[in-house]
Amino acid sequence: MIEGAGPVAAFWGLSALTLLAAGGVVVSRNLFHAVLFLIVVFLGIAGFFLLLSADFLAMAQVIIYVGAIAVLILFAIVLTPRASRDNAETRMAPVALVAGVAVAGLLIPAILDAEWRTLSSAPALPVSDLGRELLGVWVLPFQLASVLLTAALVGAVVLVRSPREEREEIDEEERR
């Protein structure tokens, strides 16, 4: 549980900010604005990590999500041929609405039903403990993460750099 007036106020403030920004992601017609709202959501979630006194996780959230994932999405937008300023068509809106309500209908009862393990005070979470856990108990997911990341890179390279393109580049090199 979070105690004290300050953290509680911060919790509600962060919740409002995060939800509003998340709403902004959904509603905004401009892809770029949506990404900016998404960044605010990421920052809000970093704030929640802080409220749970997981300061390293909060910083990791900012570094990875704001620093890397957001950049990745931005680059994906700028290299899309016709994604200019407006994300005009939302034909799938009703379907998405139905899917969203369905997921919410599944999740909300589950959240309300679950027996949450509450702690009387937020435990200090030193980074050293995190390291011990990460490389002790959770070492397999840790390694899988690296494999996954490498696979993502290889996949992207395979998609982007076709053999034909590479041959052309080599030809160009030889012509020079």
């Binding site: 390293f56 620093g67 950049v71 020079r176």
Partner: protein, 423 residues
């Protein structure tokens, strides 16, 4: 704070420890004001002292005036010398001029994003100073993850630069924005890997503790981690878009990069805070690599904050020096430098440091071993820098001493053009 002896007394007039003054102020506020007042004011004192009393004046007089004067001298010209004695009032005149200028928003520009971008750019510049320790008691928030905090905060201005470039509705802006982000992320990797070497040695991420570690072992981390320091310097200057690496706003290629459509105060905030970030990078580098506020025992007598300020300005001087000396690199050279040269070196450095630290710990060697490590690491750094360049195919003798004919090399090769880079 730490148990290390510190001579400063607790009188408010003892300038060696400015926290005394702030404590007096807070106690006074506690007596006369409501409870929350002292709580809110205590960090405010820190931010005002760090930002308004140190960073802003340094920005104006070292960044705007000193830098232009020095670079002028390095390039055999005078630099600003008209306004006031020696041109000292030039930054003030510039600021007044910028405030009076109209900030144009071009047609078709994304107005909201264009006006938010400077806000996102400037606000983190204040936050960066929260974790920089100016003295044993003089740090606004000594969080245990200070080093990562710095890295996280400095991810935000990159996004702001992208927002600025995107919103301008100008192709040069967009190119500049793409370049600035690509550069920043490329150099970020090597920078973080280099800093990991420091964390391996000190086993902590709190900047205050890193300074204390250097103080305890009587050695600066720049000697233990010369390679990491060089990587930090180059990466920082690349992420700051300072001149040898400022392809993001290369005038000869893409007008003014992501700031092409910016004018007036909107532009002024970007320009001013570029210097602010350079100062922050200098202060961070001095803290992590150059012993921060400590100076081999001298910090007992000289105010520690003065030592840090001096180191920061020295560090910043080296930024100015490289800017005045080196020509701008091409984007392919910069990318190659980041990914092919510095990243592998940083990774090797990381493994070497881990081995050293483990050996030190396992064999129970005394603290004197750090001097041996320092010598070994300096030698290793030199070897790696030269050796890896060789591996990548850099040959000093291939550098032409005079321009060769175009038909021989498939393009004009200027004298000395193949130095550095390491393609």
């Amino acid at each position: 704070m730490s148990g290390a002896p510190f001579l400063a007394t607790e009188h408010w007039w003892d300038l060696r420890d400015l926290s005394n003054i702030s404590r007096e102020i807070l106690e006074f506020l506690d007596r006369v004001g409501p409870d929350w007042l002292a709580y809110v004011v205590s960090p405010l004192i820190g931010f005002v002292a760090a930002f308004l009393l140190f960073v802003l004046p340094s920005q104006l007089f070292v960044g705007v005036y000193g830098e232009r004067r020095l670079i002028g001298r390095m390039q055999s010209r005078l630099g600003p010398n008209r306004v006031g004695k020696f041109g000292l009032l030039q930054p003030i005149a510039d600021a007044i001029k910028l405030i009076q200028k109209e900030a144009i928003t071009p047609r078709g520009a994304d107005k909201w994003v264009m006006w938010t971008a400077p806000v996102v750019f400037v606000a983190p510049a204040v936050l960066v100073w929260a974790v920089i320790p100016f003295g044993p008691n003089m740090v606004i928030a000594d969080i245990p993850v200070g080093l990562v905090y710095f890295l996280a905060i400095t991810a935000l201005p990159v996004l702001a630069a992208f927002m600025a470039g995107w919103s301008g509705n100008n192709k040069y802006s967009l190119f500049g924005a793409m370049r600035v982000v690509a550069m920043a992320i490329s150099y970020e990797v090597a920078l973080v890997l280099g800093l990991l070497g420091v964390v391996l040695f000190t086993s902590t991420m709190s900047l205050q503790a890193i300074v204390e570690w250097q103080r305890e072992h009587d050695i600066w981390l720049v000697f233990l981690q010369p390679l990491a320091f060089v990587i930090y310097f180059i990466s920082a200057s690349a992420e700051l878009n300072r001149t040898p690496t400022d392809i993001a706003e290369a005038e000869s290629e893409i007008v003014a990069g992501y700031l092409t459509e910016y004018s007036g105060m909107k532009w002024g905030l970007f320009y001013g805070m570029d210097i602010g970030y350079a100062l922050a990078a200098a202060a961070f580098g001095s803290t992590v690599f150059l012993g921060g506020w400590s100076l081999f025992g001298l910090e007992e007598w000289v105010p520690p904050w003065l030592i840090l300020v001096a180191k920061t300005h020295l560090f910043y001087f080296v930024f100015i020096w490289t800017r005045g000396t080196l020509p701008r690199l091409r984007i392919d050279q910069l990318m190659a430098l980041a990914w092919k040269y510095m990243l592998p070196l940083a990774a090797i450095n990381l493994l070497v440091v881990a081995a050293e630290r483990l050996w030190w710990h396992e064999a129970g060697l005394g603290d004197g071993i750090v001097y041996l490590f320092a010598a070994a690491n300096i030698a290793l750094a030199l070897l790696l820098v030269v050796g890896w360049a060789r591996v990548l195919g850099y040959r000093p003798e291939r550098v032409p001493t005079r321009p060769r004919l175009v038909k021989h090399v498939g393009g004009y090769v200027a004298p000395g053009a193949e130095t550095g880079g390491g393609r």
